[in-house]
């Protein structure tokens, strides 16, 4: 019988093999995928985020846990797809045009995925056009833009302007972050939210999704 408490521990400790093994056993026993995700996997990544926030965990531990989370999600994906279960929201994420720094973006991406979001990672040096193309083809709810350099921050503004021109701005929320980025800058360029770190980005995305759902209810 699957020891589901071990799933949580395996993700927190970054043990990908153990996490996948528990999930495979649980599936074979008929455990519902959403029960695994909501009762064990998301709480595990929330705990990882908490430890990162209070500097018990650092980037290596976070990436290790993210790898374990991915390994645990892998066998669940076909089951989720066939049952039509919706994620917490769909997020397009990328480091903006001209910027190749992706560690911060990867941390946010991992925690969002761990938080139950479907994350489509466009990588680094992503042009406004590529964001628009992906937003159109995926129907994303949120676009998350990252920049590490002051010189690439204007690409965030250009991406938001391009979304307006493409008629997509009303449909999608835009959140931004990165070392030089500030709330003031987010307000200035008309972003829907700013987060100063990866864990707060997940809370921000949840808040925006809840607002979106209330608005469309």
């Amino acid at each position: 019988m699957a020891d589901l408490a071990q799933l949580r521990e395996a993700i927190i400790n970054g043990n990908a093999k153990a996490a996948a093994a528990v999930v495979n056993t649980a599936i074979a026993e008929g455990t519902q995928p959403m029960a695994l995700i909501h009762d064990y996997m998301i709480p595990a990544m929330d705990e990882v985020g908490r430890r990162f926030e209070c500097e018990e965990y650092f980037v290596p531990e976070l990436l290790l846990s993210a790898r374990a989370m991915k390994a645990a999600l892998e066998p669940l994906r076909p089951l989720l797809a066939s049952s039509g279960i919706q994620p917490a929201g769909k997020v397009l994420i990328g480091t903006v045009k001209g910027d190749l720094h992706d560690i911060g973006k990867n941390l946010v991406s991992s925690l969002l995925e761990g938080g139950g979001f479907e994350v489509i990672d466009l990588g680094s040096d992503v042009s406004p056009g590529k964001f628009i193309e992906a937003a159109q083809s995926t129907g994303a709810d949120i676009i998350a833009l990252s920049a590490l350099l002051t010189v690439t921050m204007p690409s965030m503004k250009y991406t938001i302007e391009a979304l307006k021109e493409a008629g997509l701005r009303e449909r999608v929320k835009v959140i931004i972050g990165g070392a030089p980025v500030t709330q003031q800058y987010a307000d200035q360029i008309g972003a829907d939210g700013y987060s100063e770190n990866a864990t707060l980005a997940v809370a921000l995305a949840r808040r925006l999704m809840s607002g979106t759902r209330q608005a469309t209810a």
Binding site: V59, P60, T152
Partner: protein, 336 residues
């Protein structure tokens, strides 16, 4: 005192006539003479002209060849992405050591071979010739963690720390050997100080810093000091959990970024360590006013105590108002 004498005196614990002033400038320096950053990083004559002009305009005590983290990686054959007006960057998705086995075949670059590392050495030579009498001339190398990340890919290196300790050690050994030779070439060309940039070290936490990175920073610093010049250690980001380890590296000057309070650095490293920093380069320096910059420096100096050098937490950002940088100068020259 000349800038060179002032910096030397501060490092050696002798009195100074005013606080040494050593903010990092790269794109800000290129903008000062109105050249695209691509020219700055590819032509040492442009870099030297920009550094000399910036140092003269703001009365900095030093000039530096710091420009981008991709010089060594470039000469080793890593794929680099170039931009017209910002620093080049290593393309992580095609990292040189994406296959760990490639490390065994990697040879130290021939600095004299006429590529980007040589361009930096020539930059040092030109700066030493034109300003070496009056200014500290700072050479620059990458630290073990930053360079390893450039070669292996930052995300991958983070996992290697857990997955393959032996590989990480071999890679750090390679980096320290390469950077020692790079520093030696710059000292021969006239550098009177070597800066080490090890940004990635702020991401890994105290456990891995103490186990892997700090011993290799220490080794590199010992080697460079053995060549006969002092060393500045610059780790961008939040280093609060590794401050005492940084203080044990033997670096003559330790930079603190704005996320790491100077008072904590002082408490962790003791009264004799020279500290440099640490106002937020964007929120405090670029977006502040001359008065707020001056006030922030008062706070920095009070927190750091007498063994202090004026600077920002990291590079002075492009677009920082001239008056705000002059406020730094006014502060430094008014204190000793």
């Amino acid at each position: 005192m000349t800038g060179r004498e002032r910096v030397q005196a501060r490092i050696q614990g002798r009195p100074v006539d005013s606080l040494p002033l050593m903010p990092i400038t790269m794109m800000f320096a290129a903008d000062t003479i109105g050249v695209p950053y691509l020219e700055y990083v590819t032509d040492h004559r442009v870099l030297a002209e920009a550094q000399l002009e910036t140092a003269a305009k703001f009365d900095f005590d030093y000039v530096s060849v710091i420009s981008d983290p991709a010089r060594e990686a470039s000469d080793l054959g890593a794929k680099i992405q170039w931009f017209d007006n910002q620093p080049p960057a290593v393309v992580e998705t095609e990292a040189l050591l994406s296959d760990k086995a490639s490390l065994a075949g990697l040879r130290l670059p021939e600095i004299a071979g006429g590529r980007r590392m040589l361009d930096r050495v020539e930059g040092v030579r030109l700066l030493a010739k034109q300003a070496g009498v009056n200014k500290t001339v700072e050479g620059w190398v990458e630290g073990p963690c930053a360079m390893a990340a450039d070669l292996r890919g930052l995300n991958t290196l983070m996992l290697d720390l857990y997955d393959d300790e032996g590989f990480v050690i071999d890679l750090f050994e390679f980096v320290v050997a390469m950077e020692t030779e790079f520093a030696r070439a710059q000292v021969r060309a006239g550098a009177t100080l070597i800066g080490i940039g090890d940004a990635a070290a702020s991401l890994i936490g105290p456990k891995f810093y103490q186990r892997f990175v700090q011993p290799y920073e220490q080794k590199l610093i010992r080697s460079i000091r053995g060549i006969g010049v002092p060393v500045r250690l610059h780790i961008c980001g939040n280093t609060r959990k590794i401050l005492s380890g940084m203080g044990e590296t033997g670096a003559d000057i330790i930079d603190l970024d704005f996320l790491s309070p100077l008072a904590e650095g002082r408490a962790a490293m003791g009264g004799s360590q020279v500290l440099l920093g640490n106002m937020d380069p964007v929120r405090a320096l670029r977006d502040g006013s001359p008065d707020s910059v001056f006030q922030r420096l008062e706070e920095c100096y009070a927190a750091a105590g007498p063994r202090y050098i004026v600077g920002a937490g990291c590079e002075i950002a492009r677009g920082t108002p001239r008056e705000n940088v002059l406020a730094m100068t006014r502060f430094a020259r008014g204190r000793n």
